[in-house]
Amino acid sequence: MIEVKKLVKRFGMKAVLRGLDFNVQPGEFVALLGPNGAGKTTFLRILASLSRPSLGDVNVAGYRLPNQAAQVRARLGVVSHLPLLYADLTAEENLDFYARMYGIPDAPSRMTEVLQMVGLEARRRDLVRTFSRGMQQRLAIGRAVLHDPEVMLFDEPYTGLDQDASSMLDEVLKSVAAQGRTVVMTSHDLARSEDLATRFDVLSRGVIVASASRESLGNANLLTFYKQALAA
């Protein structure tokens, strides 16, 4: 579903990604772990077609970036630590806007379905600026799945959430993954990643330095795996 070969991204003279290789099979949930500055967000922005690669091949859902970016975007849902929602519009108006931008047929029923999924049906006519951070993040997930994407990218979705909101987000993420979507998530929260992902990749200094499936990890601790990967 995602194939990346020898990806390089430079900002001026500084190389953030240095020949990164990455593959994700359909239905996999990959947790992309790594310290600050490892290049996780840059990598996700390239997969989302928000940034152009300097070198290398990037294919998402069978389409090549950046040439077939519009086809990729139609099959992609992105959630970041920012909600990507308009504070002066209601939850319903935000979803309606994105439904128009994705050309979704029968948008009202799809919006209702999504609002029920993220538990915000009762607040559909409230302005987003009145929502808590957790509610905004749930609505952000609703926005991202509105067009039923095959691939989901989550960039630090737990940032700024309290314990209750994080637990609620866990449930929403599990239901998103249970629908057979391919998911790539960056997170600093190893415990939550361990709970959700089927594979763990460690990104450090612009390359993937270790990869392990949930099965291969067995009873080993994810924290130990992560520390060993960074130390190697």
């Binding site: 922005r45 989302a48 077609s49 928000l50 940034s51 152009r52 519009a70 086809q71 975007r73 139609a74 099959r75 992609l76 992105v78 970041s80 920012l82 909600p83 990507l84 929602l85 308009y86 504070a87 002066d88 519009l89 108006e93 806007f97 994105y98 128009r100 931008m101 994705y102 050309g103 979704i104 047929p105 302005l127 926005r143 067009h147 039923d148």
Partner: protein
């Protein structure tokens, strides 16, 4: 569900979203209007003009007001997109990105026209000049299109920078000098009753400028907003 909306539907969706958000918050329009009124009042008191010379300077005062108020609106319009990551949300949509540009241009123009519609009668009363001249209104229409067309493109570029409020006027004013000079000259011509042979050259320049810069923006917006 892999569908893509038409160019027109995507453009209208952006316009509809911008107008709905603004008519609810009124942040952008109120800032532009208050600023315009202050500029007009300051010029009125500072210049203390004789009735005969008012017509000659009115075009300059009007376009100075529109240009500064327009910059304020352009900055705010793109800041709303950037602050909560909404610009990424727009860019993630599977639409031709120039549809987003034209959507933003239309909504920014709508805000500019609203300000102009309110400013013109107030200016007329304060300065004792009838500004409701069809020729002048045409110049205001063309000048606003040129100013907002270039301004929206440059605001999309400036919004990526930390110093966007300062950066936009620095980038914008040198590039829109032909628009402002032509608009002032044509407006002044209509207000003072100059012959059409004097008015047509700046008017033609405005039309050509608008066509060229809208075409450039159409071709480059995708590169401008992408990292």
């Amino acid at each position: 569900m892999q569908l893509r909306p038409s160019f027109l539907k995507a453009t209208l969706a952006v316009v509809r979203k911008d107008l709905s958000a603004e008519f609810r918050s009124r942040e952008l329009l109120s800032a532009m209007l208050v600023f315009s009124m202050l500029v007009i009042l300051i010029f009125n008191f500072a210049l203390e003009l004789e009735p005969a010379t008012r017509k000659e300077v009115s075009a300059g005062v009007l376009w100075t007001t529109f240009a500064f108020a327009g910059t304020l609106g352009l900055n705010r319009s793109m800041a709303v997109e950037k602050d909560r990551g909404c610009l990424d949300g727009l860019l993630l949509a599977p639409v031709d990105r120039s549809a987003i540009y034209f959507g933003k241009v239309i909504s920014n123009l709508a805000f500019m026209f609203i300000v102009e519609i309110i400013v013109l009668p107030i200016y007329s009363m304060l300065y004792g000049i009838n500004l409701f001249n069809p020729g002048l209104l045409l110049v205001i229409l063309l000048g606003s299109i040129g100013y907002i067309g270039v301004g929206t493109l440059l605001a999309s570029m400036a919004v990526q920078a930390r110093t966007r409020e300062v950066l936009l006027p620095i980038l914008l004013f040198p590039i829109v000098i032909p628009v402002l000079l032509s608009a002032v000259k044509a407006s002044s011509g209509f207000l003072t009753g100059a012959p059409m042979t004097e008015i047509m050259p700046p008017l033609n320049l405005l039309i050509v400028y608008n066509l060229i810069f809208l075409a450039i923006a159409f071709m480059t917006f995708d590169q401008v907003v992408e990292e």
